[in-house]
Amino acid sequence: MWQNFINELNRTMHEIVGGLGRFLPRFFEMLTLVVIGWLIAWVLRAVVRSVLRITRFDKLSEHTGAASLLRGAELPAPTEMLSRFVFWVAWLGFILVGVNVLGIVGVEQHISNFFGFLPRLFAALFILFFGLLAASFFSRAALLGGVNADLPSPRLVSLALRTMMILFVLSMAFEEIGIGSETVLIAFSLTFGALMLGLALAFGLGGKDLARKYLERRFAREEPPAEHAHDHEDELSPL
């Protein structure tokens, strides 16, 4: 009995040592991958940071409004944010590859999902950034156009345009990464539809006289009423 116990113990010890012998090289392989990954991610972060600084990405982000969003949330500047993001994505990728080397059952699928998700994540970020840039540009153009044409409430129009564009961009970005895509799409459709209906009613009911006058002026080319003829003022002559 004692001999059996010793034999079992020996066998177990052999298995443990054998297991350790099989595991340790993999573990060191993983550690090496993690360390190399950290180095590569660090270099990548430095490269991305330099490229973004050269291309004045912070200034561009300032234009999109992304920088002020980050400031509001007490987060680092966009250049720092993006370079850190690249660092973590790269390093996490290496860590996952390292974990995969360990051969833990079920992990492979998750790792494969992670790498499958990355392109969509980048596409969503791309859409978000350029969408915000476009929203900022067009809303500012609307604001300046409205002010210079002396239209009523240009800031409101600009804000409405910006909100609509941001909603549209968010719905596209969420759809890209597959998070609540239907919910976001429905929310966007509802908001957009409601806004358009509201505008249609507002213009239709409130601005029908204005619209009639505009159309008459545009297409019928009526002469201005005689009572305004002698109210004529000189126009500013800039050049």
Binding site: N148, L236, S237, L239
Partner: protein
């Protein structure tokens, strides 16, 4: 023949039939049927009367008019002309009308005329605005003679204008050009001007023709480039310049063509204006008082309202362009009632310089920066109208001179804010 590719085959054929010329007068047009006939007749009269021995050609570059402008030019060119009974051309006076692509754009018309002048090896070239209804034959002589006789390279006009006309020229383009480039040209954005064939070839060789300044505001750009390369410039008094009845008072467009182009030129010519330079003389020939005082009915109240509205509504835009003290001062002004409102010279100059620096640094889209200056210019125009309402011609001139001095005095401020130290 560096730029013949932009000319159509038919046009080149017509130019070849003309052969080399001494004088070329270019008339850029677009839907100018109401006035162009009169202008072409006056140009022909000027050429026949003052340059009967020179080989001359009139070139009309049209941007696709739909009111028969080109037909009117051709008709005016062949119509009987009675300048004076004893005036006869000793050579054939040619007239050609051509249509350029991608128009209308005054820059493309100018490029077409420059290319034609280069091809015909013209010694002197004049550009005449198609709406210059006050153009007299003498204008042609005054523009061209200094080029042919005195070896001048660029002749710029000086007009007699109403004291409230050309407000953007008087409050921004003239004083800023004068103080930055140190050359006192009264009309840096000329409608009628002339240049030597050699200078025309240098204009044509510039790489601006595919850019925005090669389409609009090109005259200003070329005048500045002639100043920067220290060409021999002369200003000549032409007479009264009437305002075109058809010209829209589109301030945004005017701002793009003038301030936008001027701000853009600062970047290209940074080395020329940032270092100390001797002033460049631009003497004025036959100069007379340039301000006339007829009655004007400009709505100052509306200018004030639009200024105040603009400052309030565009706050987020101004905060990215202007320094905080300048914007605070503008906000304070916007709250004042009209009778107390005064957009003083030094604040206006500081505003313009900060806009020029913001344009250089591209803090937002450059076109947006130029557009944002429009409501502020309305405020400055209000003050200019108020302070000169009852002023004599001399007083108006003194006020413009004072503004020029302020632009000059604050030049270091531009340099500091340009380099981001403000």
């Amino acid at each position: 023949m560096p730029e013949t590719s932009i000319l159509s085959d038919d046009f080149i054929r017509e130019l070849i039939n003309v052969g080399e010329v001494d004088i070329l007068v270019g008339v850029p047009t677009y839907n100018d049927g109401r006035t162009v006939g009169q202008v072409v007749q006056a140009v022909r009269a000027g050429l026949l009367q003052y340059f009967p021995r020179e080989r001359a050609v009139i070139i009309n570059a049209d941007g696709g008019s739909r009111d028969g402008t080109q037909d009117l030019v051709r008709a005016a060119s062949i119509s009987d002309l009675s300048v004076a009974p004893d005036v006869h051309a000793l050579r054939t006076l040619h007239s050609i009308s051509t249509h350029y692509e991608d128009g209308p754009a005054s820059g493309i018309a100018l490029r077409t005329i420059l290319a034609a002048a280069d091809l015909l090896q013209a010694k002197a070239c004049a550009i005449v605005a198609p709406d210059s209804t006050t153009l007299e034959p003498l204008w042609v002589e005054r523009l061209l003679r200094p080029l042919l006789r005195d070896g001048r390279e660029l002749v710029l006009p000086v007009y007699r204008r109403h004291k409230f006309e050309g407000l953007l020229i008087r409050n921004l383009v003239y004083p800023m050009t004068r103080s930055i480039y140190r050359c006192p040209v009264r009309e840096p954005y000329p409608a009628d001007f002339a240049f030597s064939g050699a200078l025309g070839s240098r204009f044509l060789a510039q790489d601006i023709w595919t850019q925005e300044q090669g389409r609009h505001g090109t005259e200003l750009w070329l005048a500045v480039s002639a100043i920067v390369e220290r060409s021999k410039i002369l200003q000549c008094f032409l007479g009264a310049k009437t305002r075109s009845e058809t010209a829209p008072a589109d301030l945004v467009k005017a701002m793009r063509e003038s301030a936008g182009v001027l701000f853009g030129s600062l970047e290209t010519n940074f080395a020329a204006w940032s270092s100390p330079r001797e002033p460049l003389e631009a003497p004025c020939m036959a100069c007379e008082p340039t301000v006339s005082l007829e009655h004007s009915r400009l709505n100052r109240k509306r200018l004030h309202q639009m200024f105040a509205f603009g400052v309030t509504e565009l706050e987020p835009v101004f905060l990215s362009i202007l320094s905080q003290p300048t914007f605070d001062e503008l906000k304070r002004l916007a709250k004042l009632p009209e009778e107390k409102f005064e957009y003083k010279e030094d604040l206006w100059v500081r505003t313009v310089y900060e806009f020029a620096s913001a344009y250089h640094q591209a803090v937002i889209g450059r076109d947006h920066i130029v557009q944002a200056l429009v409501p502020l210019f309305r405020g400055r125009a209000h003050t200019f109208l108020t302070e000169n309402r009852d002023a004599s011609a001399d007083e108006v001139e003194a006020n413009i001179e004072s503004l020029c001095k302020t632009f000059e005095r604050d030049r270091p401020y531009l340099l500091e804010s340009w380099q981001g130290r403000k």
